[in-house]
Amino acid sequence: MIRGHFKRRGSAPPAPYVTVPVRIAGSHPWTAVDFLVDTGADLTVIHPQDAARVVPNYATRDFDEDPSRRAVGGIGGTSTFVTMTFDLLLVDDEHGAIAATLPLLVAGPRGDVLRNAPSLLGRDILSEFALYVDARTGTVTLTR
């Protein structure tokens, strides 16, 4: 069972998060990222505040020239994303961990709308698990 937690950001109600160590595929080291559990997101995305810690040379990287660049729309507007391949580790509280290598969307550094947005754990990953969220008890779990 993979356990998450609730976190309050600003004045918003507490929201469910899962901390996931990630890294650019095959590189070192791992960096822990807090992902907001978002069943409304088609794909898992890494937003600027986390991308700056995970992607080398993020601030100066030329996203406009990246062939995987695409505009993605959401509730907050449309921003530029590129696709990068990451390793992810979901750590079980009892039985080790499971790992996957998969493409994730990374927001460009000039996405002002998303500057403070949390990274999102989307349905490309959530669909592999049974998701349990209970704000009353502060419980967030992913089970296979």
Binding site: T19, A59, L89, V91, G96, A100
Partner: protein, 88 residues
Amino acid sequence: MTKFTPVDGDVVEDARTRIAEFAANDAVLDREWARLLADHRDEWVAVFGRGALVTAATMADILEAVPEDERDTAVIQFLGDTDRVLVW
């Protein structure tokens, strides 16, 4: 479909360490941030969220939030590893 495979050994211990360090740091930052907000509640005029990137665009936002006649004397305080900004 995302293919997950089991892993164990050192990589799991490393991952648990990273998660624990992240959670501990997060808790410290939250306490520090709450204290600063409480201490300066009547003074701050612009606050950018924890983890916000401080870029040239952010600086423009900061200056925009400060009344024009106070820009020469405003204190722009970068907190922690320059990932939070308090203007007062």
